[in-house]
Symmetry: C2
Amino acid sequence: MTSTKINQNSLKNVRITDNFWSQWINTISKKTIPYQWKALNDEIPEAPPSHSVENFRIAAGISDGEFHGMPFQDSDVAKWIEAASYSLFHHPDKSLEEKIDQLVDLIEKAQQDDGYINTYYTVAKPDERWTDFSHGHELYCAGHLIEAAVAYYEATGKDKLVKIVSRFVEYIDSMFGPEDFKRKVYPGHEEIELALFRLFKVTGNEKCVNLSSFFLRERGTQPSFLLEEKTLIGERDRWFGLDYHQAHAPITEQTTAHGHSVRAMYLYSGMADLALETGDKEIINVLKELWTDVTNKKMYITAGIGSQGHGERFTFPFDLPNDVAYAETCASIGLMFWAKRMLEIENNRDYADVLETALYNGVLSGISIEGTKYFYVNPLEVVPSAVEHRFDHKHVEPERVSWFGCACCPPNIARLITSLGQYIYTITDDKVNVHLYMGNETKFEVSGQMVHLIQKTNYPSCGEVVFEVTPDYPVNFDLSLRLPSWCQNYQVVVNEELVDLELGSDGYITITREWKKGDRVVLNLSIEVEKVRANPFVRENAGKIAIKRGPVVYCLEQIDNGPLLSNIFIPRDEKPTISEFSTNKVEIQFLGVRVDETKWSGKLYSSEEEALKEITVKAVPYWFWGNRQTKEEMLVWIKEI
Amino acid sequence: MTSTKINQNSLKNVRITDNFWSQWINTISKKTIPYQWKALNDEIPEAPPSHSVENFRIAAGISDGEFHGMPFQDSDVAKWIEAASYSLFHHPDKSLEEKIDQLVDLIEKAQQDDGYINTYYTVAKPDERWTDFSHGHELYCAGHLIEAAVAYYEATGKDKLVKIVSRFVEYIDSMFGPEDFKRKVYPGHEEIELALFRLFKVTGNEKCVNLSSFFLRERGTQPSFLLEEKTLIGERDRWFGLDYHQAHAPITEQTTAHGHSVRAMYLYSGMADLALETGDKEIINVLKELWTDVTNKKMYITAGIGSQGHGERFTFPFDLPNDVAYAETCASIGLMFWAKRMLEIENNRDYADVLETALYNGVLSGISIEGTKYFYVNPLEVVPSAVEHRFDHKHVEPERVSWFGCACCPPNIARLITSLGQYIYTITDDKVNVHLYMGNETKFEVSGQMVHLIQKTNYPSCGEVVFEVTPDYPVNFDLSLRLPSWCQNYQVVVNEELVDLELGSDGYITITREWKKGDRVVLNLSIEVEKVRANPFVRENAGKIAIKRGPVVYCLEQIDNGPLLSNIFIPRDEKPTISEFSTNKVEIQFLGVRVDETKWSGKLYSSEEEALKEITVKAVPYWFWGNRQTKEEMLVWIKEI
C-alpha cells in the first residue's frame, strides 16, 4: 500500500470558480449561514427553537434559565462555527467574523475550570458527566468543537478556540486512556476520533493521536463497558444494541457495516485517519472490506445510506427500500469524509465515484435551492399520504422544513459545501490526482516546484474540462484524471494534440510529462443518459430502472408527471431526450406509458385489463426535488415495461 | 329495506358433510381443540405459557399465585369454550364436555359476589375495576364469556353459564346506561355489543338489547370519556387515539372505517345486530357506506384487513402494502361476522363474496393443516431476512408458531370453523338463500313446511353443486343460489332439465317452483384461473397480478420457485395450466421468466441489461402457504412483463 501524506492542498489554496458550485457556495454564505445563525439564536419564528446559543449563555453564567434541546445541541453551534469559518475563505466578512469571535468568547466562558465544555451536562446534569457514553454525546460534542477550532484557526489565524479545546483535550486525556488509572471508554457516537487528527495537524500535539488511537482500539473490546449503561440496556430494543454504536467487535474485526450509519461513517473516517498516520495495514484491509460492504451492498443509488429509520441504521445486505429509506443527509456527508480519506490512502476511482455521487445526490438533496429549508431524511420515493398516515413512514418529511428538533444536518451540509475545495485533488510528491471536475484555481507544490492550476468546466452539465497548468519553472509530474465509472467514451487533448492514454488500473488517466507555462489539457467526458438497474438482490428495484446522467441521479416529481407515479412505465427500448438544458440543471424526457386510472372500473380487484396511455415522462435531478412542489409525490426507481 | 328474521337455521340444524370442510372440522375437533386446551393449561413446552386457566383458578381461590398474561387473557378461555361447544355438534365427546363443565364450574367460582367476572382485575388490580375502558378489556372479556355461554347452552342444553353471565350482565347493567345515576361509558374494544344480542336470542331478556343499544349509541359522543383515561392520552401516539377505538364520532356519523380493524369489525357486527333488531334505517345506511369503504378501498385480495401493524389498524384508502400488512386472522373472522349479518339485513352477493374470500384466504391462512400452528398476521409477501432484521416488519412471522403471548387468533379460528354451518344459508318466510357451496345436510321450515336439503359438491376444486330437496309435502318457495362475482359462465339444471334463469340484481339465481320429494338441482359454476389486477390507486400492486381460482387466492412459495420471488415475471399473454389436482388443493403453473441473478456483474448499480431465463412458475393456494417451508419467501402479487 502506498500511504500518501497530503497536507499542502488545504482549503485556503483552492478557490472555487465553478458556475454550479460557486452559486451554491454563495447561497450557503449569503443565505444559509445567516439563516442558521438566526435559527441557533431562536429568531426564526416558524422553526423549532434551537436554544443552542442560549445554552452556552446559561453555561457561561450570562443568562438564567434551563437547558433546552438534545444532549448534543452544542454540536450545532460548533458546526456553524466551522461552516462560517470556511465561508470566510470564499467571502471575507467582518461582521460574520465578529459573530464567530463572540461565540468563541462565549465558549471560553462556558468552559469549566477543569477544561470541560458541554452545556447539557453543565447546566442540566451537572452530577452526571461521563455516565452515559451510549447517548450522552459528550465526546461527540467535543469532537465538533475541535473541528470548529481548527476551521476557525485556518480561516482567521486566531488560535483562541484551538487553545480552549486543547485544554478540554488535556482534561479528556487525563480521564481516559490505556494507563491503569484511566477509564477504558470510547464514545457512543464517534466524531472525536477524526477531530483529534485534525487538531494534531495544526498543533502537532502527539497526545491527540494517542487519545484518538486509544478510543479507536478500545472500541468494541468485550465485554463492552456500554453494556453497563442503562440507556443502552433495557430502555431500547435490539436495534439500539452494541452494534448500533459499532461496539459489537473490535475495529479490526468489523468487516461489515452495522448500526447507526452516521456513527459508522465517522468511525471509518477516524480509522482511515489512524491508518494514514500509522500505515497500519490491518486497519486498511478492514476499511477496504467495509467499503465494499457499504458501497456494494448497502448504499442507495444516491449514495444515501441507512435503510431503516428506527435506529437510523444499516439493516442487511441489499435491503434498500425506497419509500422508508433513512439516507440521512449527515450519513452521505460522512460517506464523503470517509471516501476522501480512502483516496488519500489509495488512489482508486471507486472512492471518488462514490464521493461524487454522494455530493450531487444524497448530500445536495438535503438543502433547498434557497439554502434555508432542509431534508434530514432523503427517501427515493415519497407518497405524501403514506408519510402522513403510516407509522412506518413517520421519519420521512414530504417537504423540506425550516429546522429540526435534532438539527444535525443543516449545519453539516453548510460546512461540507463551504469546504468543497479539499475534495478535488490529492497531491503526492510527484503526482496530482484530480478526483472532482469543478471549476477552480489552486496552487501546490509538486516535484519541488510551485504549480498554479486552473480547472474550467461546466461539469456535470457538460463533460468538457480544461486544465491550465502554470508551473513556476518547467517540472515533471503526473497529472491523473479520474475517468468516472459511468463514462464510456473520453478524449484527452494536450496542447491541441489528441493523446492516446490507457486507463490505469486505478481508474485514472495519467499524463506524464514536463509541464511548462501555458500547457493546456482538455478532457472530454461523454455524458450520456443512462438507464441504471440495481443488483437483482435488491428486491425493491426488480423490474425498475433509475435514470442517471453523469453523476446526477434523476427523479420524477408529481408537478411534472401527475400523481400516482407508481403507475408510470418506461418501455425498455425507449431513448431519452434532453428537454431543457442549463448550466445548473438538465431535464430529461422519455416517452412512456401510464395506467389510465379514469378507465378503471372502480373495483378494488378485477380481472379486467388496465388501460394504458402514452405520456411524456419528465425527470429532474434528484437533488432538485421538492423545490417547486410541497407534499407531492416523488419517485427515483421507475417501472420498465 | 327488507330486514329478515332468521333464527331457525341455527348451527345444530346443519351437518357439514363437505370433503374439504369436514376434514378441517375434524382437524379442529381432534387436534386443535385438545392442543389449545393444553396451551391454555400451559402444557405445551414450546409455546409461551398462557396461564389463562390458572388465572381463573387463582381468581376462584383454588390456586395461589399471581395473574399472568394480557388483561384480556380470560377471553382465550371463553373462545375455547365456544369452539369446544360447537365441536360437540360435529363430534359428541363426553370427555370434552366434562372439561367444559369443569371450566364452567371454575368460572362460577371466580365470579365475585356482585356478579363481576374478570381474573385480571380480580387478581391483579382489585381496586381498578372500570378505570381503563380504553385498554382494560373488561367488557370485551364479558362479551366473550357471553358468547361462550350461548354456545355451551346450544350445544349441551346446559344453562349454567348462561345464568352466570346473566348475573354479570345484571351487574354491568346496574353500572352503565342512559339513566342519570349510571355511568356513560362504552368498551374500548367492542365485542359485548354483538354478544348481548346473542344472549337476548336465548334468554329473551330485553335488558340485553337495551344495554347493547346503549353501548353502541353512546360510542363516540363528544367529548369522549376515554379522553380522560391515561392509557389513551399521553402513553401512546396518534395511532392510538379515539379513532383507534372507533370513538371519534357517534356511530351514525362513522361512514369510513378507522382504527383497530378487529374492534371495527366487532362494532359493525354489533351495529348490524341492532339494525336487524330495530330495523333502524340510519344505521343500515351507515353500515352500507362502511361496507363499501372497507371492501372497496381497504381490503387485501385475501379479505385481510388492517394495513398497519402499529395500532393493528386501518390507515387510508388504497394503502395496502403487501410485506408489512397486518391482516390479522381475527380481523378477517370479524369481517365474516359482519358479512353474515349484512346478508341477514339484505340479500346481496357482495357480502357473501367477501365472506367466502375471507374464509378461504385471510382466515384459513391463520392455521396450519395440522391445526396446531398459527399465523396472527397474514402478509401477502414475506422475505424472512426483512422480517428478521427490519423494525417495520417486526409484527410479521415468517413461519406459523405454536402460540402467542396475545393469543386471540388461535381460538377464534377454532370457533369459526366449528360454527361454519351458520354461514351457508339464510332462510326467510318463503325463500332459501344459498350463500356458500359446501357439502351439508340441513332441515328448515319454509312456507310453513319442513324441508330437508342436501348439498353435495367438491367446491371450490370443482364448480358442480347438487341440491337434493325433500319437503315433507309439496311446497312453493324460492331457492336462490349465489352466482359468485368471479364466475362468468354457469348452468342450472332442475330435474335433468336445463333451465334458463336470469341473474337477479342481488347476484343470485332464483328457482321459483313447487318443490317435491326427489327434486334435484345441479348448479354448474365455471371455475377458471384468473389473473386479477388491483385498482390503480393501490400503488403497491401497479404492474402486478394476483392469481385466483374461484374464491381461492394463490401465492408463490420459495420451496416451489426458489428464492428472490421478486425477480419473477409472468408474461401478459401467458395462460395457466393446472399442475396438480386434488379435492383439497389445486396447484397452478405458468410459464414465466425470472432474472438470472448468476449472470449479473455483481455491481450494486449498473447500466447492464439483466439476463432473463424461462421458468415454470408454480402457485399454491394462499391458505396453504407455510405448511411445507419455514422461514422462506412467499409472494401473492406477481410482476407482469
